[in-house]
Amino acid sequence: MFSKNYFVTSWGIIGVGILIGVFAALLQKWGNPGNMGICVACFERDVAGALGLHRAGVVQYMRPEIIGFVLGSLIAALIFREFRSRGGSSPIVRYMLGVFAMIGALVFLGCPWRAMLRLAGGDGNAIFGLLGLIAGIWIATFFMKSGYDLGRSHKTYTSAGWILPITMLGFLILMLIFPQVQGQDKSGILSYSLKGPGAMHAPLIISLAVGLGVGFLAQRSRFCTMGAFRDLILFRQVHLLSGVMALLIAAFFTNFIIGQFHPGFENQPVAHTMALWNFAGMVVAGMAFALAGGCPGRQLFMAGEGDGDAAVFCLGMITGAGLAHNFGLASSPKGIGPYGIAAVIIGFLFCLFIGFTMRKKSA
């Protein structure tokens, strides 16, 4: 009755994790920043920069991986008849969760995907970020157990589900109309970094191809770095976790083989050594991802399947990136930004507020 989806089997999700881990490490070799082969938060931040939503000159590039994630998922969802336009489950709450998820991630300097890739590259600071991520998800599971729920989504017009995929296609077209020009920080309406992480990228076609492939596979397998820990804490299930562990191990071995493994805490690429704020930033991000029902990658994949609420979360993250750099909330390799601590505290309180007040039954 239903065609068997091999990607949701144990070996399926492990295989997807291995592929993502290998290609993420290879993307670094092909030009992406250190330990940042794929980072959904960093890359959405670069997209925000390319659009001029923030003026941090070192992080401006329209990352084709992000475009590929959404479009790859869209293609898989269309082929396997899983594209469903839906929305209406507390969009404003999801938007703000996206804003604070991004701010928290940028205090750590990475999303859960990059936390794994940083660890796989030998960056010990990632351990504090991962512990923070798990702590944030753990806090969110208490709300889930006591009835936290953002409400049901509803079917809507097919065209509504196409809005984010079409936007991403538009971004890709912009990249073709206004391609990067050597030595120029602007091409038409798009900004391009001349130095810093934003200037480091694999060739467009490779980034796009890997993005499409990952988007396709992740849609089929439901790969989610937040769900991995949530399901472990909530249900003692290791299904999604096995995929994330496969990513970590595959990226580690790939790094090791191609000489990208450099263990230590100091002078790691695009990272700082303030353990407490690496931890606290990811507590906020972990709570926000968990309360919104998916890691930043999964939100892009769900948006590709027609989930308008996930699309709103993604736009919230891009907005959060703009705010994080405009307000000095984002960290840099020198350490946290001037207002990073205040932002983490506000983000934490916001997530608590959402968790406590949006429960269907009392604790």
Binding site: M1, E82, R86, D149, S153, G227
Partner: protein, 72 residues
């Protein structure tokens, strides 16, 4: 006829939480779970199986799934 859980419009983990809550309350019997996305369908079946509840039937209609799980 067993109890029915309506998890349509909900994303994981809610459908799984609702199913597991009901499973622990019922202990055995038949349970029908309604979901409207594939991830929820797969997760509910996987979570039920981990508790010894097996899927006995699944019907698909208009983008929705009616999953019956049971334990003797």
């Amino acid at each position: 006829m067993g109890k029915t859980i309506d998890a349509r419009g909900l994303s994981c983990p809610q459908p799984v939480l609702m199913t597991l809550d009901e499973i622990s309350a019922m202990n055995k019997g038949d349970l029908v779970v309604l979901v409207d996305n594939e991830a929820a369908r797969e997760n509910v079946i996987r979570a039920a199986a981990s508790q010894g509840w097996l899927m006995t039937s699944i019907q698909s209609e208009d983008d929705e799934y009616r999953i019956t799980i049971s334990k003797e």
